[in-house]
Amino acid sequence: MLTKNYLKSLNQSLGDLTEANTRIAVKRSYLKISENPTDALKAMKVRKNLSLIDIYTSNLKDAQDLVDQYETAISNINEILKEARAQVSQGVTGTSDVEVRKTVAGTLRSFQDAILAAVNTQFAGDYIFGGDSVGEIPFTISQSGRLLYKGQDADNGVFADEPRYLDIGIGLSLSAEGGIDPRSALDISNSGVALLGSGVDSDGIPENIYNLLGIIASKLETNDIDDIGLYSDKLKAKSDDIRLKYVSAGEKTNFISYFITRLESEKINAQNKQVKLESIDYSKSIVEFGDMELAYNACLQIGTKILQPSLLDFLR
């Protein structure tokens, strides 16, 4: 009976020792859910949270790259328009002669090309101003020299919203109509036609910058500058508009980097929590291991005493 009990405790002690050893070896406070269900469940949630943070951070960084590109392109267009306005005002002054006007017109034509190049910018193989479809070149020029956005004339085409959403962890959900709720995701689409403008105003002046510059250039070329004031006012209004968009692109960058910073600090918190839940406290574990070792050795030593001599050994 004594021997049986002894063997049982000896095995138990050895088992404890091995377990303490394994925990230190794998640096984990538990190896199976059943060892500590509460902590394991908490750790599982933290782990899921961490992987979401990683996903959202990666999405936001991709979005930031896009916005950076967008910002550069708008900044270019903004500069071009500034220059264009200076040129136009030079061209429309009464003192300028026909030659000067023709030169100005030529400059404006080259600005048109520069704007076209800017809005057809590619980033990682995608046309960033393509709205929701980034695979095909968004802007082309028609036979008559007018701007076409995805094949539609910018002056009289019908352009729908082209959202392209990215999940950045603000509660992606469906709207009542079944699509994605716009407030629950980040819209990363940049419609070129929305940037450059579309349609014509009540005076028949195009809202589109490219076409506007084209018309101003032709008017200067043909020296038809009686009503050019209307057009140069329009140009001013449109270039103000672009500057505004440039500023708001900066806002978007700020918003994204704020989000990234927030996620990074969330990540640090989650990682700390994970370490607390899953990892072992080395000093504590090693002391525990020492305890187990001591207990096992003591157990072994007792063994020699447990199988003690009986009365028989003392009889003559």
């Binding site: 009976m1 009990n5 049982k8 794998v26 984990r28 538990y30 190896l31 199976k32 859910i33 059943s34 060892e35 269900p37 394991a40 469940l41 599982m44 899921k48 992987s51 990683d54 996903i55 990666s58 999405n59 991709d62 995608d126 393509g130 709205g131 929701d132 479809s133 980034v134 695979g135 095909e136 959202p163 392209r164 959403y165 990215l166 999940d167 992606l172 959900s173 469906l174 699509g179 994605i180 629950s184 995701a185 990363i188 689409s189 009986s310 009365l311 028989l312 009889l315």
Partner: protein, 474 residues
């Protein structure tokens, strides 16, 4: 007057009794470590003086006892402790079986250290996110597809592992039933021998030990009730049915029956209710449907529960994605954990996954992918008893096994220590103590010496009477 040779009989009875007692001491010491052996004891009593049995009555003299009589050699055993031991044994065996199987199940689902369904699902989600930014690009949709493939393969791998555990347990169950029937036969044989030997007046102590050992063995399978009969045999009942009805010389073998609600045990006379023992453990893990159990079925979360959980997941997951991907464009085929697979069309073209609901899809359009992501994060009713996201469902299944195992582990620990206590108590009664036997050895040896000395002194006394009396003046 006192009979001349009266004292010799008394001394002889002392010598013989001491000799026998010494033999029994030897027997106890040699069998000290024999499994199932219970200590034997010699009971002695005084031989009364009886007037009528003596031809020459002791008239006019003092009357006293006529030495010692060896009444019986009996076992030291406590029936109550036997029955407590058997109850504790069957409880412990049930919990041991349950914890064994639960730890296998936990091994299937647990991904504390390894990657499993949960991490593949997380990967699928992350890659879908990546695709939403790079929709229509075949390398990104290829990654989504390979994650989806991991999910389907893991589902069927888990299911197969559960099947393996199940078939292993079924095989073990059949072996156990064979063992039960063998033990029943052995008990019946010993019963018969005991009855016969008892009639012949032979000792049966060793046979009783053997039978008790068999009964202990049987008690780990289910709770047994042992009823001793007058002829020395015992009858054994389990779960309301006689397994051995010794009074009517009937041995009822047990066999497995199977109904819709699972396996159970029966004899020819009827079903056995197994509410304890290893058999209960087997039936819990093989029949347990958890919360899906119907009336009268086991609501233990056993293998069928986890298999059903995987099937439900496979069914909901494939039907959701097949619907989301558009009419007649299934991403998955099959609707059980075992047969769910990536559809051939998706296998042939990674971009088969619908990125946009636009009938003329353009590169970059991702509304349908966002829809899929949103649906993955939307709680839904996946099984009768579960409402939540797919990811939560996987976690819940793994934790079901972990939490149950934790619970049953602590129960098993308690029952083990109960069993140990009872076993120690029983051993304290029936076991051989070497010190006690050494003392007995001394005692009986001295008693033998003393009785022999009496014989010598009687001899001397008679010598005095016969040879030295009445020789005065010779």
């Amino acid at each position: 007057m006192r009979a001349t040779f009266l004292g010799f009989e008394i001394a002889k009875s002392g010598i013989q009794t001491s000799q026998t007692a010494l033999d029994i001491t030897g027997q106890n010491i040699t069998k000290m470590n024999t499994q199932g052996y219970s200590r034997q004891e010699v009971s002695q009593s005084t031989v009364y003086y009886e007037m009528t049995s003596y031809k020459y009555a002791l008239l006019g003299s003092e009357k006293y006892g006529q030495g010692v009589s060896l009444d019986s050699i009996s076992q030291v055993r406590d029936d109550f402790l036997d029955s407590r031991y058997r109850t504790a044994n069957s409880e412990n065996a049930a919990l041991k079986k349950v914890t064994d199987v639960l730890s296998y199940i936990e091994g299937v689902f647990d991904e504390t250290i390894n990657d499993g369904l949960g991490s593949f699902f997380g990967e699928f989600y992350a890659r879908l996110q990546n695709l939403s930014l790079n929709s229509g690009q075949v390398d990104f949709s290829g990654l989504v597809r390979s994650s989806a493939q991991k999910i389907t393969e893991t589902l069927s791998y888990y299911y197969k592992q559960l099947n393996n555990i199940e078939s292993q347990e079924k095989a073990d169950l059949n072996i156990s039933i064979q063992d039960i029937n063998t033990v029943l036969d052995k008990i019946t044989t010993v019963n018969n021998t005991i009855q016969a030997e008892k009639l012949r007046g032979n000792p049966t102590n060793e046979l009783l030990d053997t039978r008790n050992l068999y009964l202990d063995n049987l008690s780990k399978y289910f709770q047994i009730a042992v009823k001793p009969n007058a002829n020395g045999t015992v009858s054994v009942k389990a779960g309301g049915e006689y397994l051995i009805d010794a009074e009517h010389a009937a041995t009822n073998h047990v066999f497995l029956t199977q109904t819709d609600s699972g396996f159970s045990l029966a004899t020819e006379n009827g079903g056995i209710i197994t509410d304890s023992g290893m058999m209960m453990g087997y039936f819990e893990v093989l029949n347990g449907k958890g919360p899906l159990a119907g009336e009268g079925e086991s609501d233990f979360k056993g293998i069928p529960y986890y298999k059903e959980a995987l099937d439900m997941f496979a069914k909901e997951f494939s039907s959701l994605f097949n619907t989301l991907n558009g009419d007649g464009k299934p991403l998955f085929t099959g609707s059980t954990a075992l047969d769910i697979k990536i559809s051939d069309r998706w296998l042939a073209d990674a971009n088969y996954i619908t990125a946009t609901t636009n009938p003329d899809p353009q590169k970059g359009q991702n509304d349908n992918l966002l829809l899929m992501l949103a649906e993955l994060e939307t709680p839904r009713r996946i099984s009768q008893s579960f409402q939540g996201t797919f990811e939560e469902y996987i976690t819940a299944a793994a934790f079901d096994a972990g939490i149950e195992l934790d619970y049953y582990n602590s129960l098993a620990k308690t029952s083990e220590s109960v069993l140990l206590t009872v076993e120690n108590q029983r051993e304290a009664v029936k076991g051989v103590s070497i010190n006690e036997e050494a003392v007995n050895m001394l005692k009986y040896q001295k008693a033998f010496e003393a009785s022999a000395r009496i014989m010598t002194s009687l001899d001397e006394m008679l010598d005095t009477i016969i040879n030295r009396m009445g020789i005065f003046g010779r």
